[in-house]
């Protein structure tokens, strides 16, 4: 099968003709927006990746294909998926049971792609997990879904029943001697459960603090057994890679990273939503073409590219391709690839404060810099937003960015929180100074500046 993606064209001004582009993750989606049934899914080539894996490939060949495709984890960290799988113990001496776990926590503000996949194409996730489970010879799997994903939960539950009835799940899958059980688990809440090792604690009904590494999860994960954890979209990319081959997948992208990506745009645009496009599509194309451009009266100020833990990118740099490598050149990350726009009517300090309040609230409290530091940064930002800030506060905030940077905390929550703060201090200095000089938020209406400057502290959860 030959790729029909736009590989090779670095920049595509205007509206590209997307007819005929391969969209392996969306292929089975229904036009009416309802979740694809088993029938829909199979009609669009579904479960052929699993058939090929079980019928033609050895487990290690599946892992090799995924490794060769260059697929990188779509949860945001971008680790090589095949690389991770290849560290799982395999062969007659490997310990059992082994587990495959899907991270469907999707609780980071500004992330909304997994909901799209789970709502529209639940069998794709199941097939991806089956292929992964075969590759690492796992015995059981869990789909960890966040609380509040009631509709996606119902879709996946229905799809699991369909798949089991059709012989794709359970004992002797597709008549082979390989068996695999897959369970759906609904989280009881908290953002830290999205951290992969904390998720394993949550699945065990332990307090979901992150775990120390090493050991890595592929050595000692769920119940201290070898475990692969991948994001929803990562699993969803797998079936077509195994079906069509690594070279086919690599040919789908604009940039060197290969494949397609579920991108999303939210904010003051004409058509917010998710769309599957070649990896490396620029932010400009996503905003101006696929999301229909800004709403009248709103101008783009900056982009939060892929969740609250990714650094703002200023409007002047949106021609950068959205992939793992290129986003680093604008001092940010792709993250989840679902972007939220900062428009010219919205206070950048208020937006940053909102993010930091979230991280402070969701810190699990295990390590001191995160537990204490995030509260303090949110407090400082709140003071500035309400007009009580000083220029010294900006130095103090910059100090915290260093203090809670990479490798100084137990997990990546606090370093993630520092990314939008670092970018805000770098990009919105004038706004900070304007708040401090005028003693109020310039974006708030004159008479109620202080009252409306920021979202009030949230109420208590019972």
């Amino acid at each position: 099968m030959s790729a029909r993606g736009p590989n090779g064209s670095a920049h595509r001004p205007g509206a590209p003709d997307t007819t005929g582009w391969e969209r392996p993750m969306s292929r089975a989606m229904r036009a009416d927006g309802a979740p694809a049934t088993l029938e829909d899914y199979v009609a669009a080539g579904g479960y052929e990746g699993l058939r090929r894996a079980l019928g033609e490939l050895k487990p290690e060949d599946v892992t090799k294909a995924v490794k060769d495709s260059g697929l990188r984890g779509r949860g945001g960290a971008g680790y090589s998926t095949g690389g991770k799988w290849s560290t799982m113990p395999l062969g007659p001496d490997a310990p059992h049971p082994k587990y495959v776990v899907c991270n469907g926590d999707e609780m980071e503000p500004g992330s909304f792609k997994d909901r799209y996949l789970l709502s529209r194409n639940p069998h794709l996730l199941i097939e991806g997990m089956l292929v992964a489970a075969y590759a690492v010879q796992a015995d059981a799997g869990y789909i960890f879904l966040r609380a509040q994903y009631d509709e996606p939960y119902a879709n996946v539950e229905r799809a699991l029943a369909e798949a089991a009835a059709a012989g794709y799940l359970g004992e002797h899958i597709l008549g082979t001697d390989w068996s695999f059980e897959l369970f759906l688990h609904e989280s009881v809440g908290r953002y830290i459960c999205g951290e992969a090792s904390a998720m394993l604690n949550a699945l065990e009904s332990q307090r979901p603090n992150p775990r120390a590494r090493p050991p890595h999860m592929t050595g000692a994960g769920l119940y201290a057994r070898p475990t692969v954890v991948n994001n929803v979209e990562t699993f969803c990319a797998v079936p077509s890679i195994v079906r069509n081959g690594a070279d086919w997948w690599k040919g789908l992208s604009i940039t060197a990273e290969g494949g397609t990506k579920i991108y999303g745009v939210a904010g003051r645009v004409q058509r917010p939503g998710c769309v599957e496009l070649p990896m490396g599509t620029s932010m400009r194309e996503l905003i101006e073409v696929h999301a229909g451009g800004m709403q009248p009266g709103f101008e783009l100020r900056a982009v939060s590219p892929g969740g609250a833990s990714t650094a703002f990118v200023p409007a002047g740099q949106i021609d950068v391709p959205m992939d793992f490598t290129a986003m680093a050149t604008v001092q940010s990350r792709m993250g989840t690839g679902t972007m939220v726009l900062l428009d010219d009517h919205t206070c950048p300090i208020g937006m940053t404060l909102n993010m930091l309040q979230f991280f402070a609230q969701e810190s699990c409290g295990w390590c001191t810099p995160c537990r204490e530091g995030l509260q303090w940064t949110a407090h400082l930002l709140h003071g500035i937003e309400e007009g009580r800030g000083t220029l010294e506060d900006l130095d103090l905030l910059a100090e915290h960015v260093w203090f809670m940077g990479a490798d100084k905390t137990f997990c990546d929550l606090a370093p993630g929180a520092m990314q939008p703060l670092e970018a805000a201090l770098r990009l919105f200095r004038d706004d900070f100074v304007a708040h401090i000089d005028s003693g109020r938020c310039p974006y708030a209406p004159e008479e109620t500046a202080a009252a409306e400057a920021a979202p009030a502290p949230a109420g208590e959860t019972p």
Binding site: E106, M107, E108, P109, G110, S111, F112, D114, R115, R146, A147, Q148, Y149, D150, E151, F183, H185, E186, S187, V188, G189, R190, Y191, A202, L203, E204, S205, R207, P208, Y223, G264, V265, A266, G267, R268, P272, G273, C274, S304, A308, T338, V340, L342, D343, T346, G350, M351, N354, M355, F358, Q361, E362, E452, P455, A458, G459, E460, T461, P462
Partner: protein, 155 residues
């Protein structure tokens, strides 16, 4: 109070999903909350007996999770997304309207026990912001003018 036969049956069905009873605790807490609306001390004691866990262990799980309620809530729980996408798309106005309609501040329960209004972090519906949930239903984008019609559907 002790588990009803129906409650016990539902909890028994959860157990095969996990290698031991203790690992089923989060799911069991959630399942029992669905039936009893919130988790009283008695509910934790009932579950503790069923799972072979202490009330303190269950309480440590329940108080860490934002979707397990240790205080009474109304018949319907309204979750208002307060994260940055919804915030930039009109959260303040939406919150003011919902609070005015219900006559309670965020965190409160209406005197008739019909609604509890809670803040929630990002619902993964940024492209539909400002978003809110009532029970299992996602609504968005919600204009302040549309709040009344949404709430009417939940008796």
């Amino acid at each position: 109070m002790s588990l009803t036969d129906e409650e016990r049956r539902e909890l028994e069905e959860l157990l095969p999903h996990y290698p031991d009873r203790r690992a089923a605790a989060d799911s069991a807490l959630r399942a029992l909350q669905r039936r009893r609306r919130w988790l009283s001390d008695e509910s934790l004691a009932d579950l503790g007996e069923f799972l072979g866990m202490s009330v303190a262990e269950l309480d440590s799980l329940a108080t860490f999770a934002n979707m397990l309620f240790r205080q009474p809530v109304g018949r319907h729980v309204v979750l208002l997304c307060d994260s940055f996408a919804c915030w930039s798309l009109g959260y303040d106005g939406l919150r003011a309207e919902v609070e005015a309609r219900l006559g309670v501040a965020t965190g409160g329960t209406t005197p008739d026990g019909r609604f509890t209004l809670l803040p929630i972090v990002c619902l993964g519906a940024c492209d539909r912001g400002p978003a809110m949930m009532v029970d299992a239903d996602l609504h968005g984008p919600v204009a302040p003018g549309g709040v009344g019609a949404i709430l009417e559907d939940y008796a």
